[in-house]
């Protein structure tokens, strides 16, 4: 009889364990520091073909990892954000300027910026990401050397700028002059790359919420980037993540900062239009 009881208990534990593993369809609420309410689920726009509802990557994580993002004290990205904050007011380059020299107050000047990037830049005649805009400022305004596109300094700066838009809905423009780049991004998204012949859509659209071996596939939304990845123990820039994904298909990847990745970033961001900016998020 004891054995039966034990078995029953074991069965119950198994059921409970199953129930607590997160699925995008559960209704977890993401509220950071008990005050910033995040939108983690939103109906997609008509121009997104195969996706009806956009879910933030947070919804696919297990409850322990979800909890790390609920409180800024638990969020390991905080240290990288502090470093970004330090470089915001650090003078660099021949002009003797820092970011703060022109933009002054970080909170006021950068609120909402992350939500609309990548964005068409009339002067450059191209779509610019937050990173390319930062480097543009560095080389044109500060007379400083450009940072490595997906390096530590850049990622920290992106994180601290993104933080000012936290909780605001992603709203990148897909029409107007940016439309060509968006179309190119869409094409890349649905193109199969590498020896494994996988497109972004094969995993993140066709199989989102399924498991790829031990990993729970999300929709690949980028509203949480730069994200703290527990795998690397540091902040990861979105195009660095793209590179990792394409490498895993055993393909030659595009370079972070390349035209292809900028187009892809714009397209993927548009798939999550309406989700809250979560950066810096915590991801596996």
């Amino acid at each position: 009889m004891t054995t039966t009881k034990l078995l029953k208990t074991a069965g119950l534990v198994a059921v409970l364990a199953y129930a607590s593993s997160a699925s995008a369809q559960d209704d977890s609420q993401l509220v950071i520091n008990g005050e910033i309410e995040m939108i983690t689920e939103v109906a997609t726009q008509d121009y997104i073909g195969g996706l009806k509802t956009a879910y933030s990557g947070w919804r696919f994580r297990n409850s322990d990892m979800q909890a790390m993002q609920l409180d800024d004290f638990e969020n390991p990205a905080a240290i990288a954000v502090d470093e970004g904050l330090a470089s915001w007011s650090k003078v660099d380059g021949s002009e003797g300027k820092s970011c703060a020299s022109c933009h002054e107050d970080l909170e006021a000047s950068m609120a909402g910026v992350r939500a609309v990037y990548p964005k068409w830049n009339e002067e450059a005649g191209a779509v610019m990401t937050l990173a390319s805009q930062i480097n543009n400022c560095r080389t044109e305004q500060m007379g400083a050397e450009a940072w490595k596109y997906d390096g530590t300094e850049m990622t920290g700066m992106e994180a601290v700028i993104s933080l000012q838009s936290r909780g605001m809905p992603v709203n990148v423009a897909v029409d107007g002059p940016a439309h060509d780049a968006w179309l190119k991004g869409e094409e890349i998204y649905y193109t199969r790359y590498g020896q494994l012949e996988l497109s972004c859509a094969n995993c993140h659209e066709d199989n989102a919420d399924n498991y790829i071996r031990a990993d729970h596939l999300s929709q690949g939304q980028i509203n949480g980037f730069p994200a703290f990845r527990l795998k690397t123990g540091g902040l990861v820039q979105v195009q660095n993540r793209f590179k990792g994904c394409i490498r895993d298909t055993r393909a030659e990847t595009f370079k972070p900062g390349s035209e292809e990745f900028v187009a892809l970033e714009l397209y993927v961001a548009s798939r999550g239009n309406g989700l809250s900016v979560e950066a810096p998020s915590v991801r596996p």
Binding site: F73, A78, I79, D82, E83, A86
Partner: protein
């Protein structure tokens, strides 16, 4: 002195008398163990925070000795009973002699 050392603490603003509260602390520090070698094979000298203390109104709450095997950015979470209104003083002692202090007040009502 190690660069970018920044202590952070989380203390509730209010509590009731005798309540057990949770304190969280984090300090960014490279915690160089003294075991590693640089590109030329020379030992990188040890540079860690070797002691961490927390006091409440002059009374010691916790006193920790840290050794080189501890990770970067050491995080401590512990509990304390607050009998009265006062201030928690957190102190970190660096190998190089630097002392980092953070004070947080708590109101018992």
């Amino acid at each position: 002195m190690a660069d970018n050392v920044k202590p952070k603490v989380r203390v509730p603003k209010t509590a009731s008398a005798g309540e057990v509260i949770t304190l969280k602390t984090l300090i960014s520090h490279p915690m160089e163990s003294g075991q590693r070698k640089d590109g030329d094979g020379n030992l990188i000298p040890r540079s860690i925070i070797n002691r961490f203390t927390c006091d409440f109104n002059e009374q010691n709450v916790i006193d920790v000795t840290m050794e080189p095997a501890i990770s970067t950015n050491p995080y401590f979470e512990f509990e304390a009973i607050v009998p009265e209104t006062g201030a928690f003083t957190f102190t970190w002692y660096d190998d190089d002699g630097s002392v980092y202090t953070e004070v947080q007040e708590i109101t018992v009502g």
